[in-house]
Amino acid sequence: MPDIKLENLTKRWGDVVAVDNLNLTIPDRSFTCLLGPSGCGKTTTLRMIAGLEEPTRGRISNGDKLVFCSERGLSLSPDKRDVGLIFQSYALWPHMTVFQNIAFGLEMKKMSRSEIEERVREAAGWMQIDEYLQRYPSELSGGQQQRVALARSLAPRPNCLLMDEPLSNLDAKLRMDMRTELKRIHAETDMTIVYVTHDQLEAISMATTVVVMKEGKLEQCDEPLKLYKYPNNLFVADFVGSPSINLLKGKVIEGHDVWTVQCYDWLLSLKRAPYGDTAVKNGQEVVVGVRCEDILISSSEPPYIGMLVYSNLPTGSDTFVRLRHEGILLTAKLPEPDIIPTGSEINVSFRPGRVLLFDGETGKRISDGTSLVNFQIAS
């Protein structure tokens, strides 16, 4: 099992800490996305795995092969790490034809001419660029250049393919096509793919494992849907999902049999479902999180509460409504793409088992998915 293992990985530039004591195992044959806002250290991490950036401290191993170790001053050069890398700009060599671009890495491996020819044709066939082999990169469209970059990385058959925001220069439609292509490549080869992106939708829809990073630190590493449903903390909850999760600040006023949280004049009573090592106490500041598809509209069964419709945002396939009560604004997804007149009052409830509680101070999740027991206005 050649997992890629990062231990205590740290990268500093002067006083700036780009990656901060990162511990991470990238499973063999996984499609792992490094996800985070810009400047979170995801690209730096990728470049350290590739060997283009030297970590300040830590160890990187690929299976049982140690590729970097600060303690022993060891660092394998990139070509000995058995990785391919797709750059954000593709980095195709403009003065070489597509064929020469793909063949370059094979030449460096001292392969014979016929073998190179064969491998180039194979990679080009894979990416459906056979007919462009004699063209120069500048004569190709953005999508075709992307395919050439992929073919170039695939031709030497690395065991791990690293990609740095490869789709960010493509338009929306092409991006969809390339996502499909990448998933196909992953399914048909036995490569491990490490993919850097700031687009949470891209990460969720493609990855088998998503690693969320913030300010150089690991926030959460999980399967995409688990990440979506059970974010470890407020940052992950807020960063993943579009529209973003509804978050209500409140205070625990009763933490024994049921948890009762006061938020403005709302009293939300939740079923106890402790998670993690933080106990829920009276007087604790907390944040209640509910995804917009988990807000139920026009509930007839209690517990529910009345809210005013503030505005409608139809997208065609879905309609999101903004609901208001006092200082509370919630976004809810309607079950049908419909429009509710602004100003009308509707009853609102939360889907059972899908309410999350976060600690107000640390931001950590302190509950499993839980349900409303009671929902009322404070008297």
Partner: protein, 614 residues
């Protein structure tokens, strides 16, 4: 290389330390950009920093010929003798304060004049519907690429009076009595220098006008401003940083300029700092000369720093908007042909007339007599006639000319090739090692020569290489010294274009090669250098032209055996052989114009910036 076990090394701490040290040093020693940058840093420190320190040291150490004047000190000892002599002695006013005042007055007034001309032409060319715009914009920069003293020689050919003897100018020949202040001194110096430097403002301010967002103008128009109000209240304030910065840069160039003051000021002993320094060197007082050189460096550097500040501010003006729409041009109406005519007339007067006068002069036995019998080709192809110009043959027949010509070409080629190589390598390492002190030090050291006026740079090289130092033999009198100085003076331009070429290339192009397993040499040879080809040509031809027309730096370093076309002109004019010096200048002008034409054909680029030198 074998694979390393993922297990941590067992055993004691010492073994771990040793292994780490060994592995690390192995990697540092096999990191080509790092090694390369160290080599480049050593080269540039040796060619720039060491000379700079040496000139500082020379100004405070006693020179052997002054031992008798300073009691109790031996040559090479520390002394404040030169400091006192230049700044606080009976002869200070002649040696320093008068030349300083003259320098400042000339630089200031000539900049004012150059700015006015440059800004006016820039405005007409970029912001109005002037006819013949292309031709004007191409021609307006020509005075800047010609050797700066072309105009001085032309001035003398027309306005020279009988004060200093020898043949007089055309006007005197026709009986016009010219006072000295028209023939020599500040007035002609200011005028001819301004006419040489105005294209500099024209290019800088012109590009500010061109980048100017016309929507700002349109907003003022919508609010009811008329054309002149808008020009005065919106357009000029917006481009004023560019104007101020080119003003300051022109002053700093004026401070270092040598050739114009030497031709037009020396005949009546009107000295500026550069010519004073040159005189001190010739009089055998290097201590004084180096002291003056230091003052010139400080002055020029101060002005350049101020200008960089101003340019920094200017950026914040220009980045207000993204894509500016195509400029809407001011309609000049019926005045457009008048304006165009005036500008063309001006260009005719500052380019064609001087060159024609110089050319005509070389074909006339006696100046100013326009009859066929006076026509002669003697100064070009004549055989040696005893009694005429010391019996020198025409310049095309004179071995001296051809030696100087080939020396100039040799200098241009070697200096431009060397500095282009240096520039690309500096660009590569500075960009690759960005963020390390090596990178920023290399960047700054290679910029240093920009702060140093050419003539001071020449003086510095003289002070360093005049005698043997350590393992390096005395280079004085060798062609090598001239090549080294010219190359080093080109470092700022070469490094700047190398760095911007590398930034444009980006790091991913090379990293893709690293991932593919290409060695450093393979990457350079097959990925990086092939993509620098067009930039390389540019980096070759501009330094070639500026090396060809450089006078003020090499004039100090030249010896009879290493004569160049530029210094030959200088020497002929020094002897009063104006026909010959004019002919040599024309030869030089032809070479430069041909080179510029080739450059434009090859790169398709307009000459807009980078032509340094004074």
């Amino acid at each position: 290389m074998g694979s390393y076990s993922a297990q941590p090394a067992a055993g004691n701490k010492l073994a771990v330390h040793c292994e780490r040290g060994w592995n690390r040093s192995k990697r540092i020693l096999s990191n080509p950009p790092l090694l390369l940058s160290i080599v480049l840093l050593i080269i540039s420190v040796y060619l720039v920093v060491v000379p700079l320190i040496s000139v500082l040291a020379s100004s405070v150490t006693l020179h052997s010929r002054d031992t008798l004047r300073v009691f109790g000190k031996r040559p090479g000892e520390f002394t404040t003798y030169y400091l006192k002599r230049v700044f606080a002695s009976d002869i200070s006013s002649v040696l320093f304060y008068e030349p300083l005042m003259n320098t400042l007055i000339i630089s200031f007034l000539m900049s004012v004049l150059a700015i006015s001309i440059g800004t006016t032409i820039a405005w007409f060319v970029t912001r109005t519907d002037l006819p013949f715009k292309r031709f004007i914009s191409n021609t307006a920069v020509v005075p800047f690429i010609l050797p700066s003293w072309t105009l001085s020689l032309a001035w003398l050919t027309i306005f020279k009076n009988r004060t200093i003897g020898g043949t007089t100018g055309i006007l005197e020949y026709f009986g016009v009595q010219l006072p000295d202040w028209i023939s020599y001194g500040p007035l002609p110096i200011i005028i001819t220098m301004a006419l040489h430097y105005y294209p500099f403002t024209y290019m800088l301010v012109g590009s500010a006008f061109r980048d100017f967002d016309t929507r700002l103008e349109e907003a003022a128009l919508v609010l009811g401003g008329n054309r002149w109000t808008i020009l005065r209240r919106v357009v000029l304030p917006m481009v004023s940083p560019a104007i101020v910065s080119s003003f300051i840069l022109t002053i700093s160039r004026g401070i270092g300029s040598f050739s114009t003051p030497v031709f037009l000021g020396n005949p009546i002993n009107y000295r500026v700092l550069s010519t004073r320094m040159f005189a001190s060197l010739q009089a055998g007082s290097p201590g004084d000369a180096y002291m003056i050189a230091i003052v010139m460096i400080l002055l020029a550097a101060t002005f350049i720093f101020i200008s960089n500040r101003v340019i920094g501010k200017r950026k914040s003006f220009v980045t207000i908007s993204g894509q500016a729409p195509k400029a809407k041009l001011v309609s000049l109406g019926k005045w457009r042909y008048v304006a165009s005519g005036c500008i063309l007339l001006f260009l005719f007067a500052v380019i064609v007339v001087p060159l024609f006068v110089l050319a005509a002069d070389t074909f006339m036995r006696v100046p100013g007599v326009y009859s066929p019998s006076n026509f002669t080709l003697h100064y070009w192809i004549g055989k040696s006639i005893p009694g005429i110009l010391d019996g020198r043959p025409g310049i095309l027949r004179d071995a001296d000319t051809w030696r100087a010509f080939f020396n100039s070409v040799k200098l241009g080629l070697s200096a431009s090739v060397l500095s282009a190589i240096f520039g690309i390598l500096v660009g590569y390492t500075v960009v690759r090692l960005r963020g390390t002190w090596l990178s920023s030090t290399l960047d700054q050291v290679s910029f240093l020569p920009y702060l140093i006026p050419s003539i001071a740079f020449g003086a510095i090289y003289l002070s360093l290489f005049a005698q043997q130092r350590g393992p390096i033999p005395s280079l004085y009198g060798t062609f090598m010294l001239i090549i080294l100085a010219t190359t080093a003076k080109n470092f700022p331009f070469a490094a700047k274009s190398g760095i911007s070429a590398m930034i444009q290339l980006g790091h991913e192009i090379e990293e893709a090669g690293i991932i593919a397993g290409a060695s450093w040499l393979t990457r350079m040879r097959r990925l990086v250098l092939p993509l620098q080809r067009s930039g390389l040509l540019n980096a070759l031809i501009l330094p070639f032209i500026s090396a060809m027309r450089e006078l003020s730096m090499v004039v100090i370093l030249i010896t009879p055996g290493t004569q160049l076309l530029t210094t030959l002109t200088f020497r002929y004019s020094d002897y009063g052989f104006y026909h010959m010096s004019n002919a040599v200048v024309l030869l030089l002008v032809i070479v430069i114009i041909v080179m510029r034409y080739i450059m434009q054909k090859i790169t398709g680029a307009e000459l807009s910036e980078g032509l340094g030198g004074n």
